[in-house]
Assembly symmetry: C2
Homo-oligomer: 155 residues x 2
């Protein structure tokens, strides 16, 4: 379904909520869970992962919590996806990886996916979390002004 994991979705929600904290104030994981309506352990897991990727910073100890490492406008969607779901690649065959499939010698699409993956990354890197957080519309990166709104090209 070309769909990213729920955790990534949660991450965006949590990050959006996290931006509302004033200046350097930190928010606790249970607090964020209550604010977003998500499960407390799940939120904690997401925050840990995001912290590991350097997108949020955690402060330990009493009166600890999390805060954004960067403003959301400087946080491309690609980084969040890569942090939660891993590297962005549509297929397992990336960079002509050898031995990934047994029919690689007669595979007609060897290495052909790489430009596609690159196009996807380029598209996604032009979208910041701030665009998803409700501020304004998505900024069109370099693409033309979206023609018809949200019509399925094929369905």
């Amino acid at each position: 379904m070309l769909r990213l994991s729920k955790l990534t979705d949660y991450a965006v929600v949590v990050l959006a909520r996290l931006e509302e904290a004033e200046d350097g104030r930190v928010l606790t994981a249970p607090g964020l869970a209550a604010a977003t309506g998500l499960g407390e352990p799940t939120v904690a897991k997401v925050l840990k992962t995001l912290s590991h990727a350097g997108l949020v910073e955690g402060r330990r100890g009493a009166s600890g919590g999390y805060r954004l490492a960067r403003p959301l406008a400087a946080m491309p969607l690609t980084e969040v996806i890569a942090a939660i779901d891993g590297p962005i690649a549509l297929t397992a065959c990336v960079d002509n990886a050898a031995g990934c499939c047994e029919t690689e010698d007669r595979c007609a699409v060897r290495g052909r996916w790489d430009p596609v993956n690159d196009a996807i990354r380029r598209t996604l890197s032009g979208i910041s979390i701030a665009d998803l957080a409700g501020a304004s519309a998505v900024m069109p990166p370099h693409a033309a002004g979206a023609r018809r709104p949200a019509t399925f090209a094929a369905e």
Copy 2:
């Protein structure tokens, strides 16, 4: 991982092989399986799905088989993905679908994914199966000429 299913990958391989048939000649599912090195039941399943989507046409009976309904150059990647994996949507929340999640009233990203999905579809619809079948390089839709080849934007 933002990765599409193996079946879609197989579909592209099978379609690429199917284009090599001369004029109106049909190829059998077992024959395509042998030519691509994939499992025979799997190829049959993929072909049935593609036939249902109108991308290939099946002829029954002895000396039957499959042939392309269109040249690959006129077959955007979006259609193949939609045929195998279903509609292209990164999250379950599409078009403000109500009732999909229980926290929709306080969700900060309500409806914000739609433009993202649209951007993905626009990127993918600019790529045809012919571009993946080995003919030439991927045509850059409107984006700038791919800078460095296949570097991970975020990893």
